[in-house]
């Protein structure tokens, strides 16, 4: 059994090495991608394009403008005379936000009356808009005097303390997600065509004539890719640590175990697709669509799973990256052990087992 599996593995490895372009791509591409996108991805918003309409012109009005521009979050794109001038700015996206200071602002402030500022905001990108609004409120709170009623209690303030990622840098939590994403796409791509290619070229017939078992064939086909994928995973994680400040607080051993489980699942999924498809075209299409979009959107990489509707949350359970991400973030950022993410590891094992089983059943039928 082992001998035959190894024979297939060696054959597959030879075939892989002969296609040097493919091998190098699988080996190096994940690191290159991580290098590029690790720098590009960020939710930390700066340089908000701000237009200002000042109907007041008082000293206080200038103060509040200064407060906005000095905050470091906003870039001034225009001082407009009236609100009518804002429409084209917003429609074309040249302005994202506008501060409107009403006539009488300075006078009201001096007289101790309450007054308001208007903040116009392009809401199309809801997340960015919410963050910008938060900045805007903070700035106003910092320049506004406080009116107290006679019975007033003292104010409430918070002393925030952020664990694991003290400056809340989005890179530190996005980069592990990116690693999971890239590895998933790579491993599915690596094996999605492995079996269907034999079918299309007719060499499946020759394999059928040998005493080879379906399971041996599949494991033999997966092993070389597992080796290649492990190497590139190690490289990617090292890169994340060296360049993007992603720490390794937990144990390297568990990191390796969890990563291997995840890779096996991804490669297994590729093999399953390969046994289901009749043509490489279908395998290609299904492989990319089923690895790329779900891992991007359904794994908790970018969008929090707990905010999704229950039905979609249920669907996320069949996305292996979901489990890997919890374990990966746990190990590298929080330094937790199996007691915190043991269930995720079990889920990865179950996933890999089910996928391989389905692929075997499928191959037995066609053999």
């Amino acid at each position: 059994m082992i001998r035959r599996t190894l024979a297939i593995a060696v054959k597959e490895l030879l075939q892989l090495f002969r296609d040097l372009r493919t091998t190098l791509t699988l080996l190096v591409m994940p690191m290159v991608l991580l290098l590029i996108y690790g720098y590009a991805l960020s939710f930390d918003i700066r340089h908000v394009r701000l237009a200002i309409v000042d109907h007041d012109g008082s000293r206080a009005a200038r103060d509040v403008q200064q407060a906005y521009l000095r905050s470091g979050y906003f870039d001034l794109v225009g001082l407009e005379r009236d609100e009518g001038a804002l429409d084209p700015l917003f429609d074309s996206g040249r302005a994202q936000a506008a501060l409107v200071i009403p006539d009488g602002y300075g006078a009201a402030l001096a007289a101790g009356r309450r007054t308001e500022l208007q903040f116009v905001l392009d809401g199309s990108d809801a997340q960015t808009a919410t963050t910008i609004l938060g900045y805007a409120r903070q700035i106003v709170a910092s320049v506004s005097p406080v009116l107290r009623t006679p019975t007033a209690l003292g104010p409430v303030a918070a002393r925030p303390l952020v664990w694991y990622n003290p400056d809340l840098a989005s890179a530190r939590f996005l980069v592990p997600g990116l690693v999971a994403f890239i590895l998933m796409v790579t491993s599915v791509i690596a094996t999605a065509l492995a079996v269907v290619r034999e079918k299309e070229r007719g060499t499946m017939e020759s394999l059928r004539a040998t005493p080879l078992l379906a399971l041996e064939l599949l494991i033999g086909k997966t092993l070389p890719y597992l080796a290649v994928a492990s190497l590139s995973a190690a490289g990617s994680l090292a890169l994340a640590w060296a360049l993007f400040d992603v720490p390794l607080r937990g144990s390297p051993f568990w990191l390796a175990v969890v990563t291997l489980l995840f890779l096996a699942g991804g490669l297994g999924w590729g093999v399953l697709i390969s046994t289901l498809a009749d043509t490489q075209q279908v395998a290609f299409q299904v492989g990319l669509l089923s690895s790329m979009l779900p891992t991007l959107l359904l794994s908790g990489f970018i969008f929090p799973i707990s905010s999704m509707p229950p039905v979609v949350q249920a669907i996320t359970h069949i996305v292996p990256a979901r489990y890997f991400l919890v374990a990966l973030r746990g190990i590298v950022l929080k330094g937790t052990g199996p007691e915190a993410w043991g269930m995720q590891a079990v889920a990865l094992i179950v996933y890999g087992g089910v996928v391989l089983l389905l692929a075997t059943v499928r191959t037995v039928r066609s053999l």
């Binding site: 208007q118 116009v120 609004l133 003290p166 939590f173 979009l293 915190a340």
Partner: protein, 364 residues
């Protein structure tokens, strides 16, 4: 012209013959739009909160009550020992922990600032940030209710998406991405397959001109892309209730230059790859991922370092996402979107020319 038509008919026949490709073409995109459209939300509701009240006065209880009653948080645990908060955050059961220290009520009654501690899990920076800002909002409300009001208030007016639903922003982006993925991959595969099977040679000895061959190969997939938009539209408008403020005509007309780019890329891939596996890797790594990450679909372009912002100008999806969001949410037309349309036409022409040159070299 006859040549183009023949190729076109042959290509459509071939599509029809593969029983597995039709569901992939027309059902998968709609299903994906359904699921991914629902998933792509950054609106964080009910952050998991643990509360630790060490003060146990009327004031501290009313503060805890304000957190419990708010729709921003879901209280997952209430304890009176700070040591229990650590494990809750470690396991991810709680994202934010509120500690009200002893003396809080007394401080506030004496007119001093009552300081509470907020512990946030930074390993998910998005939820952590949002949780902290929700908490700040609640604390500010309490301060105001108890008699300290800021003199200046900020009144926000939110344009285009007044409820700040991230779905309205994401769903058009998901639609753009699905159209891109489908048209790009289909074209690439269709052509590489011919090369790999060897039928390309046979086609080339016929009197069909290469340009006719290319057009005949691309048009069916452009049709597929357009049909996909039509089938996806009800999902976008009815299920996700994304407002459609612009005109359908604008949307369709501006989709054409985008497909010029995606089909052109497919063609280019087919001239670069020898096997379908290489085509798959090229499409995925070189053409698809950059479009996903550098288009502003999820990650705002303005947050990127400047060199990356320049690179985004070469990404067709960037313009198409702007177009879709402009038409759907802002209701703008050619008057505003012409620079994007122009960029797409220019990019498409460049890509097609390049592909055409490579294609000819390959023949020779």
């Amino acid at each position: 012209m006859r040549g183009i038509l023949n190729i076109l008919v042959k290509e459509l026949l071939q599509l029809k013959r593969d029983p597995k490709i039709l569901p992939i073409l027309f059902v998968a995109p709609v299903v994906q739009l359904f699921i991914l459209g629902f998933a792509a939300t950054t609106d964080i509701k009910r952050v998991e909160l643990a509360v630790c009240d060490l003060d146990r006065t009327a004031a501290s209880r009313s503060l805890a009550e304000a957190f419990t009653a708010s729709t921003y948080f879901r209280v997952v645990a209430t304890t009176d020992s700070q040591d229990e908060l650590g494990p809750l955050l470690e396991r991810g059961d709680a994202r934010v922990a509120l500690t009200i220290p002893a003396g809080y009520g007394g401080d506030r009654a004496a007119g001093r600032t009552g300081v509470v501690q907020l512990l946030a899990d930074g390993s998910d920076a998005t939820t952590g940030t949002v949780g902290l800002s929700y908490a700040a909002t609640i604390l500010q409300q309490i301060t105001e209710e108890d008699g300290l009001r800021p003199q200046v208030e900020l009144r926000p007016i939110v344009l285009y998406n007044p409820d700040l639903k991230s779905r309205n922003f994401m769903v058009p982006g998901v639609l753009a991405m699905i159209i891109m993925v489908m048209t790009m991959m289909l074209t690439a595969m269709a052509l590489v397959r011919e090369t790999e099977i060897g039928t390309m040679e046979q086609v080339l000895v016929t009197p069909i001109k290469p340009i006719h061959l290319i057009v005949g190969k691309l048009v069916p997939y452009a049709l597929v892309g357009l049909v996909e938009i039509v089938t996806a539209m009800p999902v976008v408008l009815l299920f996700f209730a994304v407002p459609m403020r612009g005109s359908y005509l604008t949307l369709f007309l501006l989709t054409l230059p985008f497909m010029l780019c995606t089909l052109g890329i497919g063609l280019l891939v087919s001239t670069l790859a020898r096997t379908q596996q290489q085509a798959m890797m090229l499409t995925a790594f070189v053409f698809m991922l950059p479009q996903v990450y550098l288009s502003g679909f999820v990650f705002p372009i303005q947050n990127m370092p400047e060199p990356f912002q320049w690179v985004t100008y070469a990404v067709p999806l960037r313009y198409y996402v702007t177009i879709l969001r402009g038409v759907f949410l802002k209701g703008v037309g050619f008057a505003v979107l012409w620079p994007q349309a122009l960029a797409l036409v220019a990019l498409g022409a460049a890509i097609l020319t390049l592909a055409r040159l490579r294609f000819r070299r390959r023949l020779g």
